[in-house]
Amino acid sequence: MASWRGFLAGLWLLAFLAAPAQGAPAVLKLATTTSTQFTGLLDWLHPHFEKRHNVRIHTIAVGTGKALRLGRNGDVDVVLVHAPGAEKKFVAAGHGVCRRSVMYNDFVIVGPAADRAKILGIGDTSAALRRIGAGGAVWVSRGDDSGTHKKEAALWRGAGIDPGGAWYRSLGQGMGETLKAADEMRAYTLSDRSSFLFFAARGKVDLKVLVEGGRELLNPYGVIAVNPERHPHVRYELAMKYVQFLVSPEGQRLIDSFRLKGKKLFHPSTAPARPGN
């Protein structure tokens, strides 16, 4: 008898824990990459959107690959990622609709000031990578199927190198851990500029930008609503409002004005909304 009552009490407790608060605002689930979250960009953008539409954005910050998988599984309503190739495949396969360019920054190859591979000032990214691959230096890779990792793999392919061996260390971790590991190992790595500035500006890592500026180093971010035909439960209308907010003049202006310790980390996509992009 007593145990039966205890069981009911437990069920009640579970229900209490599970029940959403009454009258709570609608929830939009966003899967995004870590760089947009920990730089504080989303904390800067989202309050404007949340207030206007009485909505709570639940941000799940993971690598780009994982974010797209969450979208494919219908576990989120909208994704904000940075891997144009993968994004296009995602849309072509019907997992998402209405991909829009939101903003960009660029990737940089960073490494210790000592620069054993002597790549500082090399304009050609591929040439710089070949020197690192030639030996003597250590490269740290995200190795986590993130947008940065996908970009890195493409750059190695472009340089004609199939990286591997003792000098190539695949971490399987986020950008912050990877930068810190590169710092500890006196190694080279690829980082998006916003993450690098975030860590360098606060003295968390002692690395220098050694290669930058090539066209192939551009890092565009895109937003995609999850396809409601695949996943009828997604909050498609809300997702579309979010997409429109990011590419609207207001959203673009907010991105343009975002600063971290005085540094500009993201550039709004200058191109106005182009249907079918």
Binding site: G10, F38, H58, T59, I60, G74, F198, R202, K204
Partner: protein
């Protein structure tokens, strides 16, 4: 060294100032930890009792299975529950992924084996004579079972406390099933993971201080209960 001390100082200041982000993560942690421990107790105590006191077919196999589950890494539990709760999974319709309930489900799976095994050990370590003594003095079998539980009560409390300590300090399940959503599913541990990724020592330490305080207060509370 200064780096570390600065972090600790900043952490303590954040706690003293009742920083809203620290408070929010603390509240989520308290909710999911108490919830998961309560549910795990309701499931694990009877399982442990049955394994210790009943002789049934498959008992040895059941003990082996539960002892194996004790060693399952939390990320595996996270993955399996993710597979169940994902929209593509069998329970996707319930819309539980990335919610505190999802964390509770994962933590219950983590802690039921802990409670069961601790309970089984506690009850087995009570002399078999406790039951026989109660019976031969005229107790019903229900009262005799109760007397055994009563004799094992310190072990049972240890089982619950052990589960609480484990779930409140767990990070993989909370991260994978909760999604580390600020103010909603960000627990102290996933918050610490995020802050350490950002290199924010102070905030991470603030969260760690609160986490230890919660576990400490729970232990103290239990001691007082035991004495009374």
């Amino acid at each position: 060294m200064e780096f570390l001390l600065d972090g600790i100082r900043e952490g303590i200041l954040l706690v003293l100032r009742a920083d809203p982000d620290v408070m929010a993560a603390s509240w989520v942690t308290v909710r999911v930890s108490f919830g998961a421990t309560a549910v795990a107790g309701l499931i694990g105590l009877p399982i442990g009792w049955a394994l210790a006191s009943r002789r049934f077919r498959g008992r040895g196999a059941a003990i082996s299975v539960i002892q194996t589950l004790l060693g399952v890494p939390t990320v595996v539990i996270g993955l399996v529950v993710y597979g169940l709760l994902s929209r593509r999974g069998p329970l996707g319709f319930a819309d539980l992924l990335f919610s505190p309930t999802a964390i509770v489900i994962g933590l219950v799976i983590l802690s039921v084996p802990i409670v069961s095994v601790f309970t089984m050990t506690a009850i087995s370590s009570v002399d078999q004579r406790a039951r026989e003594t109660a019976l031969t003095l005229g107790a019903s079998s229900r009262l005799a079972a109760w007397m055994v539980l009563r004799e094992a009560r310190f072990g049972l409390i240890a089982a619950i406390l052990g589960a609480f300590g484990r779930v409140s300090s767990e990070v993989g399940i909370a991260m994978m099933l909760g999604g580390n959503i600020k103010g909603y599913t960000r627990t102290l541990t996933t918050g610490i993971a995020l802050e350490s990724m950002k290199g924010e020592f102070g905030f991470g330490i603030a969260l760690g201080v609160v986490l230890m305080a919660i576990i400490f207060l729970t232990n103290i509370g239990t001691r007082i209960l035991q004495k009374s």
